[in-house]
């Protein structure tokens, strides 16, 4: 069989190439450009090499923010994934309850992120907030503005409130796709509730859970809007996550070179961790 070679066929990929170039590659390249140069204003730039990268990687500020970020992601994953699965398991499979549950679950996902922040910012205030005043009335010393621990609790509870639904909906989709025969066979085999979960439901939810973990990890690792609105990164720097720190650096301090270097490092870390997650989770369930 002879094949026709025509190099002009490469033009067919041009539209996609252009699209990706303008939406991703070119903006990224400008960041790369900033990250290797220094400026004193007047649009005059000097070659700085890897200096900014060295600065970022050797600064405590960066590693502290990174630590907070990893802790935050770990905590919300540890809460949201089990909680989401638990709620999905207890949602009705048929009848009038299904649409009600689905709408209720979808609601938090439909609210704009800064509005979520505002809701919780007001909700938690000790002078006018429902939560803040109730806790105060119960004699609990709660103040997310002054107390780092309270600030963390608030941000975490907010994220759980906002995003557990996503895990619920994904898990639910995985659950309803399991054919009835599996449950019937399990009943005939005398399987306990736990065994059904462990050997039927969990393996069948494997794929959707992978997606849920990936999405939740990436989102939480890049979190910005909600904690920014609620705590502004405070008290002190205790809720300053990488993205908040990045914005402070770039816009607050106008330190473009260091901010650009940090962006690149940040991006590579997310890419790397996502890849690790994906590889681990896809291999975990496979043969051998």
């Amino acid at each position: 069989m002879t094949k026709t070679w025509n190099n002009r066929a490469w033009f067919m990929v041009l539209p996609v190439l252009l699209l990706v170039a303008f939406s991703a590659v070119i903006p990224l390249m400008t960041v790369v450009n900033y990250s290797v140069q220094d400026t004193f204003g007047n649009n005059v730039f000097f070659w700085a090499g890897t200096e900014w990268y060295q600065d970022v990687l050797s600064s405590d500020r960066f590693w502290n923010a990174m630590g907070r970020n990893l802790a935050f992601s770990a905590i919300i994953l540890a809460i949201e994934i089990p909680l989401g699965i638990f709620i999905a398991l207890n949602m009705p499979r048929k009848g009038w309850g299904v649409p009600i549950c689905l709408v209720l679950m979808a609601l938090p996902l439909l609210i704009p992120w800064n509005v979520v922040g505002t809701i919780w910012q007001v909700f938690g205030r000790i002078d006018i907030g429902l939560l803040g005043r109730t806790l105060a009335a119960m004699g609990i010393d709660y103040n997310y503005v002054n107390d780092p621990f309270d600030a963390w609790v608030t941000v975490i509870v907010m994220d759980v409130w906002h995003w557990t639904s996503l895990v619920v909906l994904l898990s639910y989709a995985g659950l309803v796709s399991i054919p009835d025969a599996y449950y019937q066979a399990a009943r005939i085999d005398g399987a306990s509730r736990w065994a059904i979960f462990r050997y039927i439901q969990l393996p069948k939810m494997n794929r959707v859970l992978l997606i849920a973990v990936l999405l939740r990890f990436m989102d939480s690792f890049m979190i910005y809007t909600e904690p920014f609105v609620v705590t502004g990164g405070g008290p002190g720097n205790t809720t300053t996550f990488l993205s908040i720190d990045l914005v402070k650096l770039a816009i607050g301090e106008f330190n473009l070179g260091e901010a650009a270097a940090m962006s690149i490092i940040y991006f590579l870390i997310i890419l790397l961790l996502s890849w690790v997650f994906y590889t681990v989770m896809t291999n975990a369930g496979s043969e051998k």
Binding site: A185, I188, P203, G285
Partner: protein, 363 residues
């Protein structure tokens, strides 16, 4: 192993059944003998799976009682009934090994690990999967998976019955034969009561001691493959079993003779009861003789299917099929005659017994 009695079982999927059509299962009253192999045969939607699920306890009948060895189990759950069921699509526990899959029903029942091991090895041997014991069940072929499903039933030595719900649907044709003969073998060896749902007559006739033919939510006939073939109790059984199905012709009956058009046909005897409804004569294509004697026909088609030929012809205004040997010639002026002993007479689609016939088929 147990005898299974169905006492006036009726089932409706709707809440308040009003008319006859609301019943997915119209009254079934029957006993499955201990240690026999039964096939529930019928077209899709005839209620056979409903009946099976009632026996296994996945469904609870709207009316009637179910007895295992004389004990009422109607209200018991599936676990408590202690039955095994193999489904249409193989159900396996993906993440477990083949060995653990088979051990699962025993471990769930708290059987000691030493006995589990003994039983599982025995069953692995029997279903030819010993070499696969340590493999994860996920990567197996459909027929291996179905063997595991079956094995999970066999592994419990005390099951009351093993139920099969069209278990060979997703199996490749050449493996169907293998699995079916293996199943027969296992039945012979263990003597479990087995009930096998299928819409495939070959499967039913080759598997079962007794075949239960169902049609529109009713059991129309229960019998050995021979009985179903020779004396179909309902014209539906005649059509459904056999290939091609039974020829059915409208006739009138006087004494021991039937009259079709202007021709008199000798019957094996005098029909016993006075008959209401439309009277029909049923004769299997295997017992239609093509020759120079009898009623003249016009041949419309001859299908050569190997060992024999199917001759399709017009007899007055009716289609009729006859099976002739491959080497037999079709005469130039063809006539058909019926083997008298093989004729059945139907009134309102139900068979009418002849005088002097044994009671066996009237069951």
């Amino acid at each position: 192993m147990a005898r299974i009695d169905l006492e006036h079982i009726r089932h409706s999927y709707g809440a308040r059944p009003q008319s006859d059509a609301d019943w997915a299962l119209k009254e079934v009253h029957h006993t499955f003998k201990d240690g026999s192999a039964y096939a529930l045969l019928g077209p899709s939607g005839c209620g056979k799976t409903t009946l099976l699920n009632i026996i296994s306890g996945l469904l609870h009948p709207t009316e009637g009682r179910l007895l295992f060895d004389g004990n009422d189990v109607s209200t018991l759950s599936t676990q408590e009934r202690n039955i095994a069921q193999v489904f249409q699509f193989p159900v396996i526990y993906d993440t477990m090994t083949v060995y653990d899959n088979l051990a699962f029903p025993l471990r769930n029942r708290g059987v000691a690990e030493r006995d589990v091991d003994r039983r599982v090895r025995e069953i692995l041997e029997m279903i030819d999967l010993s070499d696969w014991a340590k493999r994860r069940a996920r990567g197996l072929t459909a027929d291996q998976k179905q063997k595991i499903s079956l094995g999970r039933g066999l592994v419990r030595s005390d099951v009351n019955a093993i139920l099969f719900d069209e278990p060979l649907t997703v199996i490749d044709p050449h493996m169907k034969w293998v699995l079916r003969s293996q199943l027969k073998l296992l039945h012979g060896r263990f003597g479990h009561t087995m009930i096998y749902v299928t819409h495939d007559q070959t499967e039913a006739l080759s598997f079962a001691d007794d075949v239960v033919v169902m049609y529109e939510g009713e059991v129309v006939q229960i019998g050995t493959p021979d009985e179903l073939f020779e004396r179909p109790k309902h014209t539906f059984v005649g059509y459904f079993i056999g290939s091609p199905g039974m020829n059915v012709l409208p006739v009138s009956v006087e004494g021991a003779q039937a009259r079709f058009g202007g021709t008199a046909i000798t019957l094996p005897g005098k029909p016993r009861t006075p008959m209401g409804g439309a009277i029909e004569l049923g004769i299997r294509p295997e017992f239609v003789r093509l020759g120079r004697e009898g009623m003249p026909v016009q041949i419309t088609k001859v299908e050569d299917i190997g060992r024999h030929k199917i001759v399709r012809a017009r007899l007055q205004d009716h289609e009729i099929a006859a099976i002739v040997r491959e080497d037999e010639d079709v005469p130039a002026e063809p006539h058909v005659a019926f083997v008298p002993e093989k004729i059945n007479i139907y009134a309102g689609s139900w068979r009418v017994a002849f005088e002097g016939e044994s009671e066996r088929t009237a069951a």
